[in-house]
């Protein structure tokens, strides 16, 4: 038999290919370990430094590795239940001082015990705007004059003046970091050695792919976490995320497009759960530019829109609730009479335009490419009847953000996620606030005085009344922006896990994701 002299070459090439593929694939880790709960997210974790907390998704990861000082609760209430590092908080109104007692016997992942020294150090890191890491949330700490350690497990926070949203807007951001380790090794060394006190320890962060954690075996809350391993996994395409959930490759989806979410109604293995979010989804108007500096023009736009129609066409009536208010309906700071505010009235819109001296308006809405565009197209069509002609300028996020903050956008459509306090939804309309530009450059001294008074008011009912008044000025009188709806965040999960009922709560900072340690296999 004649053997071709080419055969060795072909065999060699084939062998190189097989070895190459095997070698390359061997470089990469494969499937999840057993006893791993996988959470699918549409965006990725970028920075795990709890002082920076760059975005919502990074906070999801931080919440697994660190315990918070306090938990979120409706305005003015102290919540030190569950996984909080604080055991007790006492507030002395006359002395403007919070005294915080810490839980004893909490240890960082590298073995050091957490003391008040670590908590004070964490506060100082947030408040320092000179040295790295500079926190984008530093303004939230402005009401604090000083933080002092008064015992091994006790510290005091002294305020400049009475500031009631401190817990829900400031203390909630504090996840204590280990002072000694960071002082000895520096922040750069701390990157990647994320020692917290939380139920999960950091294993690895592979950018644009996942963050992996394993159980902290010495966690101070006995019996937790229930599940040994945790992986936060990123999906660039929501359809893939949805299919992965159906297949059981992931157990929980952090959010999902409403249409894809509804498609899961008929899937037996998936529970279509959703979590109310404290958020404003608005069209903001640039108060520095004509014609939107005129309140009548702003109101004309509001009267020209029928949000129920928009939600029916481009949203989901089960997930989106049309409202002009910025705090949820069941929140004590929600004002009465806002349900019917600015119901569509084309004739009224035309009258208002006439009063402002305009026959018609031509303007542009800046919008980040995504699902909001569908809603805006319906709005664009609706307002034409009132002689308001809108163009849509679809931009990717970076350009959108830069143009809006530079004041180049006449109108823009986006969202603003707050916390449990009314102040977190209202503060950006203070003219002095760092992100007032995002709130339309709104500037009204009366509003600022009422909001400041509300934040200083110790009596709960009186404080809520003042928040109502602030919203009356902002939304009813000035129509500073047009809030479109409140949203329930679609967060479906696989039947293989059980999530405690109490964590589906609108006032929790991140809903069930903040408490993965308490999830169980079904």
């Amino acid at each position: 038999m004649k053997i071709s002299n080419r055969k060795p070459t072909v065999v060699l090439i084939a062998a190189i290919l097989v070895i190459g593929i095997a070698g390359l694939s061997g470089c990469i880790e494969g499937e999840d370990d057993e006893d791993t709960v996988v959470v699918g997210m549409t965006e990725e974790v970028t920075d795990l430094n709890p002082i920076i907390q760059a975005d919502t998704y990074s906070v999801y990861a931080i919440q697994q590795m660190y315990d918070p000082l306090v938990r979120d609760a409706p305005d003015g209430e102290i919540n030190t239940e569950g996984n909080t590092v604080a055991d007790d908080i006492q507030f002395d109104e006359d002395e403007l001082t919070y005294t915080i007692e810490l839980q004893e016997g909490i240890y960082f992942h590298h073995g050091e015990e957490l003391t008040a020294e670590d908590v004070v150090f964490t506060f100082e890191a947030f408040m320092d705007t000179e040295e790295y890491p500079v926190s984008p949330r530093a303004e939230n700490f402005d009401p604090i004059a000083d933080v002092e350690q008064t015992g091994e497990y006790e510290l005091e926070i002294i305020l400049e003046e009475l500031y009631m949203p401190l817990e829900s807007d400031t203390l909630i951001l504090v996840f204590p970091v280990p002072k000694d380790y960071i002082e000895e090794n520096g922040w750069d060394e701390y990157e990647g050695n994320w020692y917290g006190t939380g139920p999960y320890e950091f294993v690895e962060h592979t950018p644009a792919e996942h963050v992996k954690f394993e159980a902290n075996d010495d966690y101070w809350r006995e019996g937790l976490p229930n599940i040994e391993n945790l992986r936060l996994r990123v999906f660039g395409e929501e359809t893939t995320l949805q299919m992965s959930l159906q297949q059981g490759e992931i157990h929980f989806a952090e959010r999902m497009d409403p249409d894809l979410f509804r498609d899961l109604d008929d899937v037996d293995e998936v529970e279509t759960t959703s979590n109310p979010e404290v958020s404003t989804n608005a069209i903001w108007m640039n108060h520095k530019e004509e014609p939107w500096d005129d309140v009548n023009v702003r109101k004309a736009l509001a009267y020209a829109i029928d949000m129920d129609d928009v939600i029916a066409g481009a949203g989901d009536p089960d997930l989106h609730t049309s409202t002009r208010a910025v705090v949820p309906t069941d929140h004590p700071a929600h004002p009465d009479g806002f349900e019917d505010l600015y119901e569509q009235d084309i004739e009224r819109a035309k009258e208002l335009l006439d009063e402002a001296g305009y026959d018609e308006i031509e303007s542009t809405v800046y919008v980040n490419v995504g699902p909001r565009v569908d809603e805006l197209e319906i709005i664009q069509d609706q307002v034409t009847e009132a002689n308001i002609h809108l163009e849509l300028n679809e931009l990717e996020w970076g350009t959108y953000l830069e143009d809006v903050r530079a004041g180049e956008a006449p109108l823009w459509s986006s969202g603003w996620t707050g916390r449990a306090s009314a102040n977190s939804q209202l503060e950006l309309y203070n003219s002095w606030h760092g992100f007032n530009d995002y709130g339309g450059f709104y500037n009204n001294t009366e509003f600022e005085e009422v909001l400041a008074e509300a934040n200083r008011e110790p009596d709960f009912d009186d404080r809520m009344e003042l928040y109502h008044e602030a919203q009356e000025i902002l939304i009813k009188e000035d129509c500073a922006f047009f809030n479109r709806f409140m949203e329930d965040l679609p967060q479906p999960h696989h039947e293989s896990i059980d999530i405690p009922e109490q964590h589906w709560n609108p006032y929790m900072d991140a809903g069930p994701i903040a408490y993965i340690a308490e999830w169980e296999w079904a």
Binding site: I21, A22, I28, T46, P136, R137, P207, E249, G398, G434
Partner: protein, 321 residues
């Protein structure tokens, strides 16, 4: 051939000349990438910190990243770092760019390489068979299939494959990397689209070559049909095909970006998308430089391979050309 003789050979000199010529291309590409990234709107510090970031926090990040320096200085710093093995630190991930590329590159190379192999094997086979049986049912159906694969956007094809083969049949994992099985569907998406081009080109080249006089004379000399087709026909038809394959290397990276996003495949492409959206200058520059170098190497390989496929091609004439 001894090493010295090889070094002095025309082919070796040709390769060295091509590499030297690639250096200005590399620098030009690096300047263009740098300018595009830095002149496009959007501040990485602002994007990183979100809408609620204070001016102080933004300035602090800008200083830390060196973004407050003049553009030319940023470029010089960057390029001097590149040649010293320091490709900078990713703004978004705060990790060395070279390390990020090193960890993601294997999966992307695996995807591109396997997609390329599939496309070449399938494309050339379909093209040759189509040319040998023109206007047959096979020829028509392969033409229709080629048009089909080319016409379908890769993201849609990816979702379709996921739905049918992963979700409905359960043959493959939905996304991510769960071992070599995760490679199959994305590889098919990339491979099928490229094979359509190769098949069409091979077919038309083969049809042209098979009418040449030297094919007729080879047949009349009594050579076996297989030898005529492969040695005299395919070898001559392959030159434009090799050119197209080489030119498609950057396209393969582009295809990998979309395919990796759909399949949640943890390669370099999906990271590039996130890098662009967050204006992560060092990361995007690093990845695009890698793509640029790959394209230069692919073209070099194509040029050299011409001389192997068809020894009549004179290297000197290529050099002059």
């Amino acid at each position: 051939m001894k090493i010295r003789e090889y070094i002095e050979s025309k082919r070796a000199r040709f390769i060295v000349t091509r590499i030297v010529k690639s250096i200005p291309v590399f620098f030009l590409a690096s300047i263009i990438i740098f300018l595009i990234m830095h002149l496009s709107p959007g501040d990485p510090a602002e994007i990183m910190l979100g809408a609620g970031a204070t001016e102080e926090a933004i300035e602090s990040i800008q200083q830390r990243l060196g973004l407050d320096q003049p553009l030319y200085r940023q470029y010089l710093n960057y390029m001097s770092g590149v040649f010293q093995g320091d490709w900078g630190v990713s703004i978004r991930y705060n990790q060395p760019v070279l390390e990020l590329i090193r960890t993601r590159m294997p999966l992307t190379l695996l995807l591109m390489g396997s997609g390329l192999i599939i496309s070449v094997i399938m494309g050339i086979t379909m093209g040759v068979l189509g040319a040998l049986n023109p206007n047959s049912i096979f020829d028509y159906s392969s033409t229709v299939m080629a048009l089909f694969w080319r016409s379908i956007p890769s993201f849609w094809l990816g979702i379709l494959f996921l739905y049918v083969f992963a979700l409905e049949f359960g043959w493959f994992p939905i996304g991510g990397w769960q071992g070599p099985i995760s490679l199959v569907l994305p590889m098919m998406v990339i491979g099928l689209r490229l094979q359509a081009i190769i098949a069409r080109l091979t077919r038309s080249q083969m049809l042209d070559v098979l009418t040449k006089d030297y094919i007729k004379s080879a047949k009349t000399k009594g050579l076996k049909r297989k030898a005529v087709i492969i040695k005299h026909g395919l070898r001559n038809a392959l030159i434009p095909v090799v050119t197209v394959i080489a030119l498609r290397v950057p396209w393969l990276f582009g295809g990998a970006v979309i395919t990796e996003t759909v399949f949640a495949y943890p390669g370099m492409g999906s990271m590039l998308v996130r890098g662009v959206l967050s204006r992560d200058f060092p990361l995007v520059q690093g990845i695009v430089l890698v793509i640029c170098i790959s394209a230069i190497i692919a073209n070099l390989i194509a040029d050299v391979s011409y001389t192997y496929i068809d020894p009549r091609i004179d290297i000197d004439s290529q050099r002059k050309g």
